[in-house]
């Protein structure tokens, strides 16, 4: 009986916490704009096969009767050299961008965070030296260059592009978590868990990790935009998604051959990239302000 009421109290406290954070988040019109934009983008990408005007344009499709048409009521963003509807391809392209962002985060966050936890908790031991010096090596080269290099030796495909970005990006999470953990491990709540004989797994994941969640979440929401930017750069040079997969970066590259006369082929996908990245940045800034994470 006692236990149940306790959990209920706990639940209501958490609920209160969420409500307070939401209030803080929603006071900032920019954060809300970001959230609304993300919701709209999500709607159009998830339901892309149903809401796009010409779903067949997403794949191998050629219709020379309608090739290279300027924006009109039939084709809101015009058509490309193969007669494919650009708007449709943007919807599907956003889909790949979002999938890329989420997949990369799913790949790197667990790895980066666990390594950071281990290195931070064992500060001063050989484990810390091995892990942190490895991150130094990965960080010694600009991420886009490392991703390009990895991509270039693999067969170009959207999956290998994700792998390449992950290889270039994981050290940042390790460093972030390492920094927090190495200051937290001297705190009393960790010490008391240690003296009561809690297992290392419990201390790392239940005591310390929970206190790193805010910065990690903030970094994830901001990184979504960066990953999509890097992904589009890779496919811009042809090292990412391969045709006929609709991808925003490669659409911009294709269209740049037809500039300036057929500007719509590359300009609209470019706007789409900017819009996605902008919405995630606005949202991420909002999260950072709400959770009170230091800028940096």
């Amino acid at each position: 009986m006692q236990k149940k009421s306790l959990t209920q109290e706990e639940l209501s406290r958490r609920w209160e916490n969420i409500r307070r954070n939401w209030y803080k988040f929603s006071r900032n019109p920019l954060s809300i704009t970001g959230l609304v934009m993300i919701c709209i983008i999500l709607f159009f990408t998830i339901f892309a096969p149903f809401v796009s005007p010409y779903p067949e344009s997403a794949g191998k499709f050629i219709n020379f009767y309608e090739a290279s048409q300027p924006p009109s009521l039939n084709h809101l963003c015009g058509t490309d050299a193969f007669g494919r509807d650009i708007l449709t391809r943007i919807f599907f392209g956003c889909r790949y961008s979002l999938i890329m962002g989420v997949t990369v985060l799913l790949l790197i966050v667990p790895v980066g965070v666990v390594l950071g936890l281990i290195a931070g908790y064992h500060k001063g031991s050989w484990l810390e030296i091995v892990i942190m010096r490895t991150t130094d090596i990965f960080i010694a080269v600009p991420p886009l260059i490392l991703a390009l290099a990895v991509c270039s030796v693999l067969t170009p495909s959207i999956f290998n592009a994700m792998l390449a970005i992950s290889i270039a990006w994981w050290p940042w999470y390790t460093r972030l978590v390492y920094g927090i953990v190495s200051s937290l491990k001297e705190e009393f709540f960790v010490k008391s868990a240690e003296v009561t004989g809690a297992s290392k797994i419990h201390i790392l994941f239940r005591e310390i990790l929970l206190n790193c969640i805010s910065p990690i979440l903030t970094k994830m929401s901001l990184d979504m935009g960066w990953i999509i930017l890097i992904g589009s750069s890779l496919s811009f040079v042809g090292l990412g998604a391969q045709p006929p997969t609709p991808d925003l970066g490669s659409m911009v590259a294709d269209g740049s051959k037809y500039l300036p006369d057929q500007w719509w082929i590359s300009v609209f996908p470019a706007f789409a990239i900017m819009l996605i990245v902008l919405s995630f940045n606005l949202f991420g800034d909002g999260i950072r302000d709400t959770l009170g994470v230091e800028r940096g």
Partner: protein
């Protein structure tokens, strides 16, 4: 002073370690590639014995660590092997292409620093007015726009619509480049007193350098503004105001210096984005630099060239970071140069 020298020595030693690690990393990445690099270099129609000879030449039949040993031995002597595609010495190619990239990165870095700090200062000075809002909107757009999109838009606007700026190469065809002293055309032109060439080179630099700088300079402007706005509320500024020190003096003498520390701290990271994006921007502007060379090597899977280019750019990035750390140490004496900094 002794402290600074000790710091530099320590950082250099660390850089050697990082470079060795980086070379192993790049080497392993380049060698785990599926397929036969020798076959790829020679094409599908090359006879089997030629492929086999190239494999022997590249030590591809030996274990990985032996391959690395041969490669590292060469690299220490400044020999990065022979390009698998052009059959030319990679080291010579790098020497030939490096100055153009250095020039571009240098100017992009200067634009980024100056414009970013000026915009950020204006924005922070006029905080919460329409000027501030305008700058903030512009810098948001700068951050979210990929540099290749800037490059394409600039080409579209300035060379097709307005036709005022060139978009290809380093000099107008027909202009005789000054004798090479440093390899950086603008410097060479100034040294030899050829001002016409200097302005021609500058005109060619403008669009690619600004395309590269747009994103990072927006980042710098945002950081500068944020730290200015933070520092304005500090007590020491209030006490200076109460003493009747003119606003302008407060701004330039007391406020700007501490506010620039975060800006310069992230300068290293922003420089990374310039180096990375140069791979795309040099391709678009047909800039004969190391990054375009590297990009072509990547597209043709030219392993020796890829390894060397990544390593050289890694070295440039490491040096840039040491310079950034020294500057921050100078601006903020509280930050001991000996302590490890997390923001490298």
């Amino acid at each position: 002073m002794g402290k600074t020298i000790k710091f530099i020595a320590k950082r250099l030693a660390f850089s050697v370690f990082v470079l060795v690690g980086l070379s192993i990393l790049i080497f392993v990445i380049a060698r785990v590639m599926p397929g036969n690099p020798a076959r790829m270099a020679l094409g599908a129609r090359a006879p089997e014995w030629v492929v086999e000879r190239l494999r022997e030449e590249m030590h591809l039949n030996e274990p990985l660590y032996v391959q690395y040993y041969y490669w590292a031995k060469g690299a220490l002597h400044g020999n990065f092997g022979i390009s698998l595609v052009t059959r030319r010495s990679v080291a010579n190619d790098i020497k030939a292409f490096f100055p153009a990239s250095l020039e571009l990165a240098l100017y992009a870095g200067i634009f980024m620093g100056i414009i970013g700090i000026v915009l950020g200062t204006i924005s922070g000075w006029y905080a919460n007015t329409w000027v501030d809002n305008l700058v903030r909107i512009i810098s948001y757009m700068g951050i979210v726009t990929p540099s290749f999109v800037f490059a394409i838009f600039f080409v579209l606007i300035f060379s097709y619509v307005l036709e005022i700026l060139p978009t290809i190469g380093r000099l107008t065809p027909g202009v005789v480049p000054p004798p090479s002293v440093t390899g950086v055309i603008t410097f060479d032109a100034l040294i030899t007193g050829r001002f016409d060439v200097f302005f021609d080179a500058l005109k060619h630099l403008l669009l690619p350098a600004i395309s590269l700088a747009m994103g990072p300079l927006s980042q710098e402007a945002r950081i500068t503004r944020a730290s200015l706005v933070d520092n304005v509320q500090k007590d020491y500024i209030a006490s200076e105001r109460s003493c009747g020190i003119p606003e302008r003096t407060i701004m330039f003498k007391y406020l700007l210096k501490p506010s620039l520390i975060p800006t310069i701290t992230i300068y290293g990271l922003d420089f990374a984005s310039i180096l990375g994006n140069a791979f795309l921007v040099e391709l678009i502007f047909n800039w004969p630099g190391l990054s375009r060379y590297g990009m072509n090597a990547m597209l043709q899977k030219d392993l020796n060239a890829i390894t060397a280019v990544v390593l050289v750019l890694g070295l440039v990035f490491i040096i840039a970071n040491i310079v950034v750390d020294l500057t921050v140490g100078y601006l903020d004496p509280r930050i001991g140069l000996g302590t490890e900094r997390s923001s490298e």
